[in-house]
Amino acid sequence: MRDFDFEDACVNCSACVSVCPVYARDFRFPGPKVLGPEWWRDSQDSRTEGQTSEFVDDCTFCQLCEDACPVGVPVAHLIAEHKRRQAKPARYRWRDYLLAHPHWIARFPQITRVPRKWTKVLGLSTRTPWPSPNRPAKVTHDLLVREKSMRVGVYGDCYTEAFDGPVLDAVIALLEAWGYESIVMPGAGSCCGAAAYAAGNAELGRRIASATAERLRRANGDTVDLMLTLNATCDSTLREEWPRFWHLSASCEVVPFTEFALEYAPLEFWHLLQRLSSDKPDLPYYVHTTCRSRVSRGTGWMEQIGQRARWTVKPLMLACCGAAGSYAFKAEHEELAREMGQLALDEGRVMTDSGTCALHLQGMTGLKASHPAYWLYKAYREAQEHVKVV
């Protein structure tokens, strides 16, 4: 058992229960208070120390419970420890071990084309949409700002590199257009360790993260001032779990792309987008701030992006969409994941800061869903064309 802070400070207020997206929908799920602090207290008692809940794996590790706790109990991380102690069938152990290494899958993304009936044996979902390989194309583009002012790292997370290439292309293109030199780090096939931790294997997560930290350190070489993240879970893992639980450092400041865009994109860029929005009013953007982003950074940044570009923005009132990394890919979670992401939306686009959430919401709504960088770059290209025509 790791040495948590305030693991015994629960005052039974149930604020954690009030925000838990699983507890609200799955009537068998005992809730974060029971599975976290109450379980932990029982585990300290020799009469009940070996007891675990069969439902503990239904936790998505969204960490909203931890954010809600007014006394700082590490609720979600206690549940992760609980998960570690829960016995599982062998096939689920193999599956979870594989899913805890998303960077392996990213090295061989064609594996996602395996027929679904084969994967059923492993306990993988047959209904949740799987990503298709889609590597970055390394596009070229016009520059808004000619002078390079700063070298910016971009954390090439495993999902974006293997399955969401257009997002990475968009980020690099935008950075270049804004006058920043970019370097994708640490290179394909690395993982921050989030998937392993979410599945309850903190030690495996630490080992995976340590290897990535070393690659980051070598890739950076003190040449990068800050590193942008394109996935909220990787972002919060790098900035919070790394130093807090694993004593690791990303070697530079870590900032979500969205906040960087609001702070550093030049005025000309926004003016261009605003002009297009004024001349050609477009479909609304439904915004889903992922649970991990909400916990780690807060909400409202993507809405600000939309407002600055003068788009019509509609925030979605979803706590967790059900994707939760690899959660929705597990057979036993597919129904609940679908229920959590159930939305009836009019025509529009979905903007969200995670590739797997985008994939899940796209499947649930039928609307194109992607990262804000993708939508910004798309609008930028359209604005450039529009200006030429006008």
């Binding site: 802070d5 305030f6 400070a9 005052v11 207020c13 149930s14 604020a15 229960v17 009030s18 925000v19 838990c20 507890y23 609200a24 929908r25 009537f27 799920f29 005992p30 809730g31 029971v34 909203l64 954010d67 809600a68 706790c69 007014p70 006394v71 700082g72 900035r239 919070e240 400041e253 915004v287 909400r294 916990v295 780690s296 950074r297 807060g298 909400t299 409202g300 940044w301 809405e303 600000q304 407002q307 923005v313 509609k314 925030p315 009132m317």
Partner: protein
């Protein structure tokens, strides 16, 4: 001018909303979700004679809050009235969401409790209601629904009743009982009638039974506060106010600093971290900022020139920083039953200390007006 509000309880949310309505750039930052889920959502006034504003100012502030909530989809009843507390006693209130029973003249009641829902009213102060209303309530307890187990808190009951199956369970049982209750008696149900479709479900049941239907509050987690929290946060996000997660450790030279290294400029800061649990943030005499319950050190105040003695933030205005809500000294809402008035008055005062008088300054933007309704 840029503003930062610290704290995500009702005072923090109200301050951020008023700033947004006045076209001010505002960020809301909080270390935790806030304790809205521990409160049913009624706003108490207490003794109006003891309050520091005149009657007209009060009326404007209360109407402002009522309209603000209305714009979020929270209908309210405004004016002196009585409602039930979570222990079953009648208590005075001034602004109450219409889902909760609230009337200036309490009469006979039909009260229903749910078997398996802890803290339903009959367990405790049924006699208090009888004494207060002068009528013996018609009281019944509905049996547990199929699928119930002892992990069902109020949140799960609400999710159940949001579903078709749950609504059917409730309506069927109530329709059977309805003929036994005198016509016109309002029906009071535990505050678990849906998490998101409460008004719609209450109206539907009311139409079926041909009588008014309300909720009565339970102990935490409270659905009333949760509904308001979710709608209020969505309203702010919709209007471009970022709700930032993080612990503020320092406010120095007009910059806010968080424990994870983030920082931004803020011309004015409003502290609203008192906490309904009596917790929140405290500042010790040596300037150390700590969480009141766990005593975890969050940071250290570095005084700007003229910072003055530090005891509890907000006890007095300090340059560009003011406090509102429970954190501001001179209020004891648990004793005086004036939590709503405290929130309104302290937010108003804190904004005014920082140069924005919301009762006189014309509003720059937003959906509502409030001066001279």
């Amino acid at each position: 001018m840029s503003w930062t509000v610290i704290g995500r309880g009702p005072a923090g949310l109200l301050a951020a909303s008023l700033l947004n309505m006045h076209g001010e750039e505002c960020r809301l930052v909080a270390a935790h979700e806030g304790t809205m889920a521990l409160w049913s959502g009624v706003m108490d006034r207490g003794d109006p004679e003891l309050l520091p504003l005149n009657a007209e100012e009060w009326q404007t502030l209360w109407t402002l809050l009522s309209r603000l909530w209305g714009s979020m989809g929270i209908e309210t009843r405004l004016g002196p009235a009585l409602t039930l507390s979570c222990t079953g006693s009648l208590k005075a209130t001034f602004l109450c969401p219409t889902w909760q029973y609230c009337t200036p003249d309490p009469g006979p009641l039909w009260i229903v409790a749910f078997e398996g829902l802890p803290d339903s009213l009959q367990d405790i102060h049924l006699s208090a209601i009888e004494a207060a209303t002068g009528h013996s309530p018609f009281w019944q307890r509905l049996p547990r629904p199929p699928g119930w187990d002892d992990s069902w808190t109020a949140v799960r009951w609400a999710s159940f009743i949001d579903q078709t199956e749950g609504k059917f369970w409730l309506k069927t049982l109530l329709q059977d009982l309805n003929p036994r209750v005198p016509a016109g008696w309002p029906l009071l149900l535990p505050q678990v009638i849906g998490r998101i479709r409460t008004g719609e479900i209450l109206r539907e049941i009311g139409r079926d039974l041909r009588r008014p239907v309300f909720e009565y509050p339970l102990v935490m987690p409270s659905l009333g506060g949760m509904r308001i929290r979710d709608l209020w946060q969505a309203w702010l996000r919709n209007r471009g106010v970022p709700l930032i997660s993080g612990s503020v450790t320092e406010y120095l030279k007009h910059r806010i600093h968080l424990d994870d290294g983030r920082s931004w400029g803020a011309d004015h800061v409003l502290m609203a971290t008192g906490g309904i649990l009596g917790g929140g943030i405290k500042v010790l005499p040596n300037g150390v900022v700590e969480e009141a319950i766990t005593h975890r050190a969050l940071g250290q105040i570095t005084a700007e020139t003229g910072w003055g003695p530090v005891f509890r933030w907000g006890s007095e205005a300090n340059g560009s920083l003011s406090a509102c809500g429970r954190q501001r000294s001179g209020w004891d809402p648990d004793r005086d039953r004036n939590g709503g008035a405290m929130i309104l008055a302290t937010v108003y005062q804190a904004l005014r200390e920082q140069g924005l008088n919301i009762l006189t300054v014309p509003r720059k933007g937003g959906l509502m007006s409030h001066a001279g309704f």
